[in-house]
């Protein structure tokens, strides 16, 4: 058999810009993640939470209908159904589709996101460093920032699949139930069903919260995974950064009454603070009080991201230099 170059054409066309290489990098990482059963298991678990919020509203409406149609008697005592309905609505206000709904949703879903990212970071990013496949990427006409951006994009897709996308689903569901939800910013105030804005302001808030989570978690996960590479060390680092520091902050501020700025140690708390700001929360109403200012939270997260990006700039090399 002789080697034929007949079918191997000299390339005459124009190549695309290096930035086009970002998506293939993300795609490869996502492809290897989506093949893992563990990911689908975790994703299914996270959907339960979404379904709880999704069907919770219907469940509340059904319960209200049932209660108001017939008087409820407990023994000889007839319950005040109007009061009961008001109490139920008050308790389950979190399902009304207002800023509280999305604050709770992002908060709960965030827990799942953190678990998923800790367990999948090695697949998304770490393997490139473990198996030293970086030279293949960096031999191509892209630079290290395209690679980092590609990896961040892959993490961003995962984060958004778990948070922003279902949150948008919830937003659409509430809007389909009541068209005014889409059009009237003061819908909740006027209907007395809750607080905060509705319509496009709420939509922007949801997107803003999602964006903050996406950007910060993408950069920190890529940095942590390129540092730790393997799943177990990554889980430990992830827990230390997001759980242990959070607990320390709670003990210092709520337990030992230290300055409120110690709460900035809790990165997840800072993320939520900024998210709440996007959703239109009044700073004073955020629980647990007191909380550092939105600006302080933003600066802290920005500083952490800067550190991560500096590390990634050093770390992302085709040649690993052992000194």
């Amino acid at each position: 058999m002789t080697v034929q170059l007949l079918h191997y054409r000299a390339w005459q066309g124009a190549f695309r810009r290096p930035s086009w290489g970002v998506w293939p990098i993300a795609r490869v990482a996502l492809g290897s993640l989506l093949r893992r059963r563990l990911f689908w298991l975790l994703y299914a678990a996270s959907l339960f939470l979404f379904l709880m919020f999704f069907f919770g509203g219907y469940l509340l409406d059904w319960a209200v209908t049932q209660v108001s149609q017939a008087p409820i008697k407990v023994g000889n005592v007839t319950l005040d159904t109007e009061r009961l309905v008001r109490s139920m609505r008050q308790t389950l206000q979190v399902l009304s589709g207002n800023q509280d709904t999305f604050a709770y949703f992002f908060n709960f879903q965030g827990t799942m996101v953190m678990i998923v990212l800790a367990l999948t970071g090695a697949v998304l990013v770490g393997n490139d460093f473990t198996f030293r496949s970086l030279p293949f990427y960096l031999s191509k006409p892209i630079n290290r920032w395209h690679y980092i951006l590609g990896k961040c994009l892959a993490v961003a897709v995962v984060v958004n699949l778990l948070t922003t996308l279902p949150a948008l689903g919830l937003y659409m569901q509430h809007g389909m139930d009541e068209w005014e939800y889409f059009t009237n910013v003061a819908y909740f105030e006027e209907s007395g069903m809750g607080r905060g804005p509705a319509s496009w302001v709420l939509l922007l808030g949801v997107l803003g919260f999602g964006t903050i989570l996406t950007v910060f978690l993408s950069v920190t996960l890529v940095a942590a995974a390129s540092w730790m590479r393997r799943t177990m060390p990554l889980v430990m680092v992830w827990c230390a950064v997001f759980l242990f520091l959070h607990m320390v902050a709670v003990i210092l501020v709520d337990g030992l009454r230290y300055n409120v700025h110690w709460r900035l140690l809790g990165l997840w708390n800072n993320l939520c603070l900024l998210g709440y700001a996007c959703l239109g929360f009044d700073h004073e109403t955020i629980w647990p009080a007191p909380q550092p200012s939105f600006l302080a939270a933003g600066i802290t997260l920005g500083g952490v991201m800067l550190l991560c990006l500096t590390y990634l700039n050093q770390r992302t090399r085709a040649v690993e230099i052992v000194r």
Binding site: Y8, G13, F15, R35, S133, P135, L138, N143
Partner: protein, 363 residues
């Protein structure tokens, strides 16, 4: 020998850099390689024919490049200029071959000097468009099929999705992997991985191909095909820099080598020219004719002959300086004395021997 090693110091006017630095044609292949090296010689001749243009800007240019890893120096004041054709990169472990390759691939930036690919700094995306790099390691996402891997590399090279697909099929066919490309990489043998790596390096039709141990692990038929392919690519005007420990295979590929030692280019150019420069090591030639005594007497009068032994099979073992002049003199003798040469073989002109002499007998 020490002259050559030291001559790479840029602060000194050096012979190795001035002489074989710029690729010269392989017209110097002499008669000493007739016996049992015919196959190798054919390959070299074909390589000689495929060297391509010798003028114009170099494809790869190292301009007094130094690179340190902390206190350890990787390459030291290397100046190297490569145009089209195949160049073998040889040297001991730790001699700086890999650093040189990585500098050329744009993976490392030089601490001193400049590495230019087609006139552009090697680490830039513009330069990388002209470089196809085939690293020694072959790990990637193991669940991915060979075809997907190649298509991914094509997308990274700047092809659109449709182009990546068609281009991928072309290179897979070229490296003989079209029928096995659907299988996941995890199931590939070492040889199949080598082919796939080669395919990803070729995908964007680069001018410069940097191949790190491209023949290791490939079966004999695959090797022959790969060597054919390299020659054909060189024939298309591509510049191939091939690092290999397998010197016999490298000899089949090219006569043009760059020898590295202690982070420096000890010598670069056609092997025969490098061999000629090794004055301290006269070339050993085994020669037999119908009149060995006449031949021996005549050879002893020759100025370039520094030693002559009679071998048990009655052939002569000649040690000669300046092989080119010696072979010229031998030809004259054969004609004037009406001798019939039955055997003529150079015993220590291989890459292995040259490396041994040049690098202190440790090759």
């Amino acid at each position: 020998m020490p002259d050559l090693l030291e001559s790479t110091d840029p602060s000194r006017g050096d012979r190795a850099l001035e002489g074989p630095l710029v690729r010269a044609p392989l017209s110097l292949v002499n008669g000493a390689r007739i016996a049992n090296k015919s196959e190798s010689l054919e390959a070299k001749d074909s390589a000689a024919a495929e060297l391509g243009p010798k003028t114009g800007p170099p494809v790869l240019f190292f301009d007094r490049v130094s690179r340190w890893y902390g206190p350890v120096i990787g390459v030291n004041g290397v100046t190297l200029e490569l145009r089209s054709g195949i160049t073998g990169l040889v040297g001991h472990n730790g001699s700086g071959k890999s650093t040189l390759m990585r500098l050329a691939a744009g993976h490392l930036r030089p601490d001193l000097g400049a590495v230019l690919v087609e006139g552009r700094q090697a680490w830039t995306a513009e330069a990388k468009r002209h470089v196809g790099y085939c690293p020694e390691l072959d790990t990637y996402y193991e669940e991915m099929s060979g075809r997907r891997f190649i298509q991914c590399m094509a997308r990274l090279s700047g092809f659109s999705r449709a182009e990546a697909r068609s281009r991928g099929d072309e290179v897979l066919e070229l490296v003989g992997m079209a029928d096995r490309a659907q299988r996941p990489l995890a199931g590939y043998s070492k040889g199949m991985r080598q082919r796939i790596k080669l395919a990803q390096a070729l995908i964007h039709d680069p001018k410069l191909l940097l191949l790190d141990e491209p023949l290791s692990g490939i079966d004999p038929i695959g090797r022959r095909e790969s060597i054919q392919l390299f020659h054909k690519l060189a024939g298309r005007g591509k510049c191939l820099l091939i690092s290999s420990h397998e010197l016999e295979e490298l000899e089949k590929l090219t006569d043009h080598v760059a020898i590295m030692a202690a982070g420096r280019i000890a010598a670069v150019g056609p092997l025969t020219q490098i061999r000629d420069l090794l004055d301290d090591h006269p070339l050993s030639i085994r020669v037999a004719s119908d009149q060995n005594k006449v031949l021996a007497t005549a050879l002893l009068d020759c100025d370039d002959v520094v030693g002559l032994d009679r071998l048990p099979d009655d052939a002569l073992l000649v040690r000669a300086r300046n092989p080119r002049r010696f072979f010229q003199r031998l030809t004259e003798l054969v004609i004037s004395e009406h001798l019939e040469i039955s055997h003529l073989e150079s015993l220590d002109e291989s890459t292995h021997d040259v490396l041994g002499y040049l690098l202190g007998g440790k090759s």
